[in-house]
Symmetry: C2
Subunit: 471 residues, 2 copies
Amino acid sequence: MVIAEAQEGLRYDRKAVEAVIAALAANFGNRLVTSRAVREQHGNTLTWIGNQPPDAVVFPQATADVQRIVRLCAAERVPVIAFGAGTSLEGQVNAPRGGISLDFRDMNRLLAVHAEDLDCVVEPGITRKQINEQLRDQGVFFPIDPGADATLGGMAATRASGTSAVRYGTMKDNVLALKAVLANGELISTARRAKKSASGYDLTRLIVGSEGTLGIITELTLRLAGIPETIASGVCPFPSVEAACNATILTIQSGIPVARIELLDALQVRASNAYSKLALPETPMLFLEFHGTEAAVAEQSQRFGEIAQEFGGGPLERATRAEDRSRLWQARHDAYWAQCGLRPGAYSLATDVCVPISRLAECVTETQRDIAENDLVAPIVGHVGDGNFHVGLMVDRNDAQEVARVHAFLERLAERALAMDGTCTGEHGIGQGKMKFLPAEHGEPALDAMRAIKRALDPLGIMNPGKIVAL
Amino acid sequence: MVIAEAQEGLRYDRKAVEAVIAALAANFGNRLVTSRAVREQHGNTLTWIGNQPPDAVVFPQATADVQRIVRLCAAERVPVIAFGAGTSLEGQVNAPRGGISLDFRDMNRLLAVHAEDLDCVVEPGITRKQINEQLRDQGVFFPIDPGADATLGGMAATRASGTSAVRYGTMKDNVLALKAVLANGELISTARRAKKSASGYDLTRLIVGSEGTLGIITELTLRLAGIPETIASGVCPFPSVEAACNATILTIQSGIPVARIELLDALQVRASNAYSKLALPETPMLFLEFHGTEAAVAEQSQRFGEIAQEFGGGPLERATRAEDRSRLWQARHDAYWAQCGLRPGAYSLATDVCVPISRLAECVTETQRDIAENDLVAPIVGHVGDGNFHVGLMVDRNDAQEVARVHAFLERLAERALAMDGTCTGEHGIGQGKMKFLPAEHGEPALDAMRAIKRALDPLGIMNPGKIVAL
């Protein structure tokens, strides 16, 4: 019985899946699980996108396991889907055509640390918190922080970034090299540990952000940063979102190397005050962090304070004690849960546009007007130093009219960002949820090139089918 | 008559070339040139790799011209080769199978500057000096400096970097988006101006470093940096190359954001003293540059001075006057010409390995021993903050024995770098000269993936054939 729409070359049927499951059971024993509960946990669970569970979940323990699984699946043309922590937001882990989910829970080792070279080698199932716990003694850390305690494999696959990208870049900038199993079961190693190279096509950056549709990452070499001598955080109120955005623009332009600069609009501040027991004035806020020597941090925060004042903001209230800093950033990371508290029972849906920073104030204020005009409950948080912001739409899914208004809002938001030379996703990726925006964002010739690459590396269409580009 | 070896699908013959030349003449008039002198100028002229001129040179003035040329060539399966300033070092502009060279001399405009967003849009024929002259008034600059006044299209195509990459990254990090004409004549636009995006495959990074083998760049959106408040340069002597490398390692590890940190070994210092009329002690030297606020620059250079002292180096002699700084960096950029002065009539051949910085001292000292043991004249300069160094081999091409010793040395150098987890090219690219090192550096599965991508995007094999991967 054919149980999913055929993809070009994809002969996916129940018999094939059963053959793969039998072979996997013989190879992996109780590391193969087919229970409904476990399968459902391995489909999308976090967002409005439906749960599409795989047919089975297998827990590889080594790269050779991944190669064996992919080869078994390729032989029967059964999809393979990599799974990290399940924190992706656009349905990246769903199995719309069934198939086998590879859960990297057991491949979570820190394999090597080269502190002198500021790099380390990890298995893809390690999470960002695990890495930093294990690195702390050596004076180095991995700076990318998407909020969720995602796995590094998942973060690389979705080209994640987060609050510290303004200073340290995104996963694209912090994966030095990786190993990945391709659709033919071959293992590629994309680069050496040298800090730069002009040798051949940049396979590292091709796999980063490809969401498991071109290969399955089995090892990552990551750039690290030295733990700064001094870290200072701070909060700074502004009279308007526009003033906060303009202060951010001038901060970046002035070359002040802020490590984080995060916007919370007044509604988000209210939500976070309630959820995280803060006592901030309910006005737009920037949360900031400065890294450097003591003198550099003092100079940076003073200069930022002066800029804030120019736009009617301030004063910058500094938090230098580690526990105060942690409390602040925990509140920022809990923004999602705080949003949920604004409208109990409602569903939170996170958008993710990113625009050139010169258009940020305009994009945010137009979006706020749109929210108000459509009677939506939707606080805004943003990695504003990068021009990236998230609208947290609190949706009553039982109200069909509201759901329709939300869908129309999402289309307008993407169009607004694209019209400003921006992108429909700064960091969440495409998955299933944003495929519809790709033609407008990239144009058909570039999409055709992506499809050609997909077909070249995955001619059977077994690698996480139904994500990014449909063949 | 078949005048070149057939590439898969490449039916290259004289009749086809004549048909293309006739069509181009009809379209482009005197912007098509077939004189021997001009054709030879458009083959490789700078290095030991032979000159392989194209059959004709055409000067496009707009993206639509490039599309027309590529379509005419595709129809007859005639190669197309992009040409910028001709400063590539591995034969990237050669036409081993003949074909049409596209010289971007007339497409050299700065199309837009977005100072607020720290980016600009350029045509590929603009050179790095032209860009910076035109940007200066706006308080921003393009930081990548490979030494030669290369075009930005060429720099992107070869993934160039140079002296300032330690602070500002390579072309991979500084091209935000690009437009390129593919082998089918279609124009792709790889990304928007947003500072980051998680949308689709990273076509920008795929084209950067692909040396015209996947597409021809017709527009680039570049990241800019604010002109620093203060720039200070300096020279710092060391008792040994090892001491200079170790001071560099500690500088990078300590997070001192040096803008440039360049090694010259004693022989190079002697050569530069003679050529650039410097009066430096003939001992290994670091040339440095610091960017930032006055206080930050003062702190950085003081901290560097302390590190230098730890390794028996110093004192750091600072040059803050613009003319002294220019003189210093001009001398660094003239290292090649200075080398030529060491052995008049000899030929200079630049190597380009890059290793993890922890292995740098070892790699350089082993290489120096190798040079001495083989009686070669070969000063060393290096972008040591990145672990990248160049041996300038002064070769007497009439001495067959010496040429053989040089070839054996080149093989050992590449093997040494690869054994240290390094690359055979930090910034010069593969071209024709380094194709032989690709299997050892990347392994067959990764090379196969590169070949699959090449075939997918250039099924006829017309895009700069015979470079990077041979089909």
